[in-house]
Symmetry: C2
Subunit: 408 residues, 2 copies
């Protein structure tokens, strides 16, 4: 850990670490359910101190952490594969295409990173109980990390969350409350819950360490890429917190003198859940009207971190794109069949976006492009099966096999 | 790679690398469908050469590989987490309990390791097509690695394979043939398939490099455990190939002078699928009669590598244990809730076994015990949900939440 202050992303005011817990108290007054969060805090480190201590030859990434290592759990989050996907690249006309596969985190999604850090914070604060609203992945992640840490996870999810994610949370021993409503309803209700009943609220962006936790994926990419900034990173975007976290990683690394260049970030949203996309492209914010996409992890009407996400994309020199469910399922098949990576629909949206962009001038053929794979395909098998029909069974003979080939 | 000969585990005869492909030609004559394989080959390296070159400070594990690194794919198999699980240990009265979580391989199971090596061999041999029979995991693994390698996977599975595994194979672009029969039928048919139509057969134990591929999990445990041999490793056992592979890792490491001690291996089988267990305990082999267990990955009537697996357990000083489906589901919940590890039923059988053994004298409280987690829980969500009912949905209000607590 390195000393840091929390800075409000809305008004710029700074706070000492334990002076605030969630939003900037001054700006939070402007926040009400039904709009994106106002006053989201960002950890500003003593970058000079990091610069002095950090060695590329033997990197101590704990220097970039906002929680002391002694509160960390012996639970293996992160350290996921980063590798080239040449055959997929040929298909998409990219000569230098890479995948960061965060579906291989313990609970199967990048959200493990935020949960890991927030639970470390809960240990530091002596909080026994951590509460979150989630479309599914953040909840599975929180439940997993809480199980390992011996803390109680309390989880509010829309009742439409995929069965696999619900199974995970329950098995990990979380208290799961499916609500007859949307993710946005769950978000609102979870704020009410911790305000009235206590515990630590892990809501994404609402707790500033969710951004810091997600930051670790960017730092890992940097190390795995030998301290060279990739040209472009495609990020599946719902709430906008992963986008903010990835940007923060490169901002922090730049502030600490590790790199000179920031990657261009591409915000990828589902067509019916594109509040941040519209905000980026038009400059005017409005909630997404009844999002309905197969990419449940990025299905959100009111993205909590819309403001910071938009700023990240703009400052990075990036842009935004939307994809349809059909394109997402096609992207999922392409990623699996050409790279051996089975990703959930939200993550597959990045492949769909790249396919859509391959003839545009927004990307150059030789640039190093990274697809951020945020969740495992096994999280939602029913979605995957929409794209590929199950074959019929045959008798266990060579004739049986041949009868299959003869079918239309 | 280091020079090696294939040695027949039945008659002891040695062969040069490209002199044979599958079983020992002499012993294969005794093999017929319906019994375990005879003449399974084992790679015997020039251990003196490894001893000279291998450095613990900078380990080059490729020295222990039977395929040249230049045929390896840029696809991240292995490197999975190995970590202590203290809270689970307290529950099971083990003071030094660890998990090796191979469910975090790309396709979600340890089988990725065997597929990785066999596909590297296919690349070396110029084979375009790789064929396997599988209960599901080996097939998903082969499909994933073949996708990444641009080879065609042809897969024979019992039609009862869990949907998630089928979805994976199909998405990865494999040719999937579900058969009206058991895994044993699929095994027999796949041998017929490659004999008649060509391609490389990846059947477990039938292709000797499946054992070598699985060996890598043992070598990784050794490195992650700082070159100290764990006292005990619990291995979920169906065909007996993982057991053989893990044993081979420590045998090879011992032969190369890296360690002096072998771990005791505990063979864990499901009660209705316990041919190897009965073989170990009685000395007499007989097929399991109609196996029917929720742990589909270890459901097998005729374990292909029964002979080698029995020898491994005996030589290691280990033993064998069976568990019921109820115990397996209980083990799955325990592992998830106390360690944050969501494993498929087969892998959870290790936890069930440990719980069963906790009052026995077969294990000592202070020994270092490793649970080998061979597959991800997301592989079979319906099985997991048998242990935990889905909660009912409530209105998105504090009253709604409280109404849940009030339910019986």
């Amino acid at each position: 850990m390195t000393k840091f202050l929390y800075q409000c992303s809305t008004c710029g005011k700074s706070y000492r670490r334990d002076e605030v817990r969630y939003l900037c108290p001054a700006c939070a007054k402007q926040y009400r359910p039904g709009i994106p969060l106002v006053g989201v805090l960002s950890a500003r480190f003593d970058y000079g101190a990091i610069r002095k201590k950090f060695k590329k030859a033997n990197p101590d990434w704990a220097l970039f952490s906002a929680v002391e290592k002694k509160y960390y759990l012996a639970y293996p989050v992160g350290g996921t594969p980063f590798h080239p996907v040449a055959a997929l690249g040929r298909e998409l006309r990219c000569e230098n295409l890479w995948v960061k596969n965060d579906g291989l985190n313990p609970s199967g999604s990048l959200k493990d990173r935020a949960s890991f850090l927030v639970v470390a914070e809960a240990v530091r604060l002596g909080e026994k109980c951590v509460v979150t609203a989630s479309t599914g992945n953040a909840a599975s992640a929180l439940a997993a990390v809480c199980a390992a840490a011996g803390r109680q996870a309390i989880i509010l999810v829309p009742e439409t969350a995929p069965k696999a994610k619900l199974a995970q949370m329950l098995l990990y021993g979380a208290r799961v409350i499916p609500i007859k409503g949307t993710y946005d309803d769950a978000f609102r209700l979870s704020l009410e819950y911790t305000a009235r009943r206590g515990g630590l609220n892990r809501n994404t962006a609402y707790h500033p360490l969710t951004i810091e936790g997600k930051k670790s994926v960017g730092l890992e990419i940097l190390q795995q890429n030998k301290f060279k900034t990739p040209d472009v990173i495609l990020v599946p975007t719902g709430d906008g917190v992963i986008l903010s976290g990835v940007f923060k990683a490169f901002q922090d690394a730049k502030a600490a003198g590790l790199i000179n260049k920031l990657p261009r970030l591409v915000c990828v949203q589902a067509e019916t859940s594109a509040a941040i996309h519209h905000y980026i492209t038009s400059g005017i914010y409005r909630n997404a009207d009844r999002p309905h996409t197969i990419a449940d992890s990025i299905s959100v009407s009111i993205p909590s971190n819309a403001h910071m996400a938009r700023a990240a994309v703009r400052e990075s020199g990036g842009f935004s794109v939307t994809v349809t469910d059909e394109e997402i399922l096609d992207g999922q098949r392409l990623l699996a069949a050409k790279a051996g990576v089975f990703a959930e629909p939200a993550a597959s949206a990045t492949v769909a976006a790249l396919k859509k962009l391959r003839n545009s001038r927004l990307l150059e053929r030789r640039e190093q492009i990274v697809l951020l794979i945020t969740g495992h395909g096994l999280k939602d098998v029913d979605a995957a099966l929409k794209g590929v029909p199950l074959p019929v069974s045959v008798e266990p003979t060579m004739e049986g096999i041949d009868s299959l080939a003869a079918r239309p």
